[in-house]
Subunit: 300 residues, 2 copies
C-alpha cells in the first residue's frame, strides 16, 4: 500500500518516522539517533531522507508532519509557541519548512507556552492531543515524567495550565557528577528505599538539598548499599516533584505518559502516597496526536 | 624568630600552611593548589614540604597540626570521625601520620559525624573551634556556606547537631551543565532578583525543581537577562536551604563563616527574611581553631 503521509517525532536525542496509510494506519516505521540536539538546520533534511526516502513516490508530494524539537529555535525551522489556554491538537501555528527535495511538504508543529508562570513544552502537546483522541475528556490531570517532567491540567480538552520540574535532569547530574556519584556505583535498585524516600520528600520537600547529601553521609558511615542509594536519590527528587505538583494529582486520576520504566515508578509512587493513575505509552500518544493534527488539518 | 609549630588547613582544592611562634603568632604563611582531592597518599608529604621546608630546623622535630580532607579516608592518613555531641576543639582522635622526613611530627585532626540523621563534616569543626575561641558562647547557631553548606547548633560549646545542604554543588551543576546554562552566559548579578528568589523559595521550597526550570522558560520567552537569571538560580537554592534550616536561624543570631562573597550573600538573604547574622572569615577561624587544638594538646 502506498504511503499517504508521514508522521515524525523529532526529539532532542531521537528521530522516529511512520509511513501512514490514507486510513491512518502505520505501514512502516523507522528510527535513528539523529536527534534535533546534534543537527544544524541544514542537516535535518538529509537525516529525515535517510529514514523515509523509500516511502516517497516520484512526482508526488507527500505531507510530513513533524512534532518536537525540530520546531524549536535551534531546530530545523522555528514554529513559535501557541499560548495557553489552547487545544493541543490545533493545526494553528504549523510552520512550513522549505526543502530541497520537491517530493516533500514538511510542516513543524508549534510548542505551547504559558506566560505566567512562565513555562514551555514542545512535543508533549502532541502526546496530550493523542491522549484526548484516545480517551476523550476522561483525564483532567496528565503527568509526563522525564528529563523535564510536565504536569498538565486539561479543561474542555484544552491545555489550561502546566508546570515543568527539572527532576530527570537533576537526577542525572547528581547521580553522575556530584559527590553522590561515589555512592551510586551500580545500576541496582531497592524499591522500598525508593518509596520511603518519596514519602519523606513529599512531607519535607524543604529538606531536599540536605536529604540528598545524607546519601553521601550514610555511605561514609558505612550504611546503605548502592542499590538503595540510587533508589533513594530518585525517590527524594520524585517526592519533591510530587509535593510541588500536589494541586494537580490530589483527588484526581492522573494519566501518566512516558517511557515504561519511568511511568511505572511514578505510578507506584502515586499509589504509595494515596494518588491514582493510569499509564499510557509516550510513543503511542505521540503518533495518535500527530494523526489528530493531520485529521484536523485536512478536515478528514 | 624560630618556627615553634606549623598549622595546616588542607582542603579538597587548596593547601595553606602557617609557621607559628611559641606565642601562637603567625610568623609566615604559604599556600598552593595541592588540594587533598588530587593527591595520592604518598604525595602528601612532598606537597607539604614544598611549602614548609624552609621553616624546619635540622635536628629538631616540629609539630604539624593538619585539619581538613588530608584526614579523610581518601586523604593522607585517615583520622576517623568523632561523634556528636563533641567539643570541636578536642585533641581526641588525632591521627599520627608516618613521615619519611624525621624533622616532622604530623597529626591529622578528625572530622565529626552525626549518626542520626547521618551527616559528616571535616574541616568545619576546626572553624567552629576557632569561633568559640574568638567569641565564647555567644552563638548557638553557625552557618558555614559553601559547596556543602553546614548549619550547626552549638550547646555548651559542643557541636550538638548539624545539617548539610548540597547548595553550592547543585548551583555549580545546574549553572554549568544543565539546560539552564544557556540562560547564565555571563558572570553578572542582579541583587534584587536574588533577594526575590530567596523569598519565593523560602515560602514554596516544594517548587524548587520547577522554579529552576522557569529560569529557562523565561529565557525562551525573552524575559530576563543573564545577570538576573544567575542571581535568581542562586536565590532559589539558598532560599530552599534557608527553608530547610529555619529551625536553626529562626530567632537566633547566626554566625556566618566562609568566603567573603558567599557569607555576604547569606547575610543579605537572612536580613531580607527577618534573620540576624554576623560574619567571620573562614581562614581566620580555621587558624584560631588549629591554635585552640594545639593549646589543648600541649595544655598550654
Amino acid at each position: 500500500m502506498e504511503t499517504h503521509w508521514i508522521a515524525v517525532d523529532w526529539g532532542t536525542t531521537n528521530l522516529r518516522a511512520y509511513a501512514m496509510s490514507s486510513e491512518h494506519q502505520v505501514l512502516s516505521d523507522a528510527q535513528s539517533h539523529d536527534g534535533a540536539g546534534k543537527l544544524s538546520p541544514d542537516e535535518f533534511e538529509d537525516a529525515l531522507l535517510k529514514l523515509i526516502d523509500d516511502w516517497l513516490v516520484p512526482d508526488r508530494i507527500t505531507s510530513v508532519l513533524v512534532c518536537g524539537m525540530a520546531g524549536a529555535k535551534q531546530g530545523w525551522a522555528e514554529a513559535p509557541y501557541l499560548q495557553t489556554p489552547c487545544l493541543p491538537s490545533s493545526s494553528d501555528g504549523l510552520k512550513a519548512v522549505e526543502t530541497k527535495d520537491s517530493r516533500l511538504k514538511v510542516s513543524n508543529l508549534p510548542g505551547v507556552c504559558q506566560q505566567s508562570p512562565a513555562d514551555v513544552m514542545r512535543g508533549e502537546e502532541t502526546q496530550l492531543a493523542g491522549l484526548i483522541a484516545d480517551t476523550g475528556a476522561k483525564f483532567n490531570t496528565v503527568c509526563l515524567p522525564g528529563t523535564h517532567s510536565k504536569w498538565v491540567q486539561l479543561q474542555d480538552n484544552q491545555i489550561h495550565r502546566f508546570n515543568t520540574y527539572m527532576t530527570g535532569e537533576t537526577f542525572e547530574l547528581l547521580s553522575q557528577q556530584s559527590i553522590l556519584r561515589h555512592e551510586l556505583t551500580s545500576e541496582g535498585w531497592n524499591q522500598s528505599a525508593f518509596l520511603e524516600a518519596v514519602e519523606e520528600s513529599l512531607k519535607n520537600p524543604q529538606q531536599l538539598l540536605s536529604d540528598c547529601f545524607r546519601i553521601r553521609a550514610q555511605g561514609l558511615l558505612g550504611k546503605p548499599d548502592s542499590a538503595s542509594a540510587r533508589a533513594r536519590l530518585s525517590g527524594l527528587l520524585i517526592g519533591a516533584e510530587l509535593a510541588g505538583a500536589k494541586s494537580y494529582w490530589n483527588n484526581q486520576n492522573t494519566a501518566l505518559i512516558g517511557d515504561d520504566r519511568l511511568v511505572t515508578l511514578y505510578a507506584e509512587a502515586l499509589t504509595h502516597i494515596g494518588g491514582n493513575s493510569e499509564i499510557f505509552s509516550a510513543q503511542d500518544m505521540t503518533l495518535q496526536g500527530l494523526i489528530q493534527v493531520y485529521k484536523n488539518l485536512f478536515n478528514q
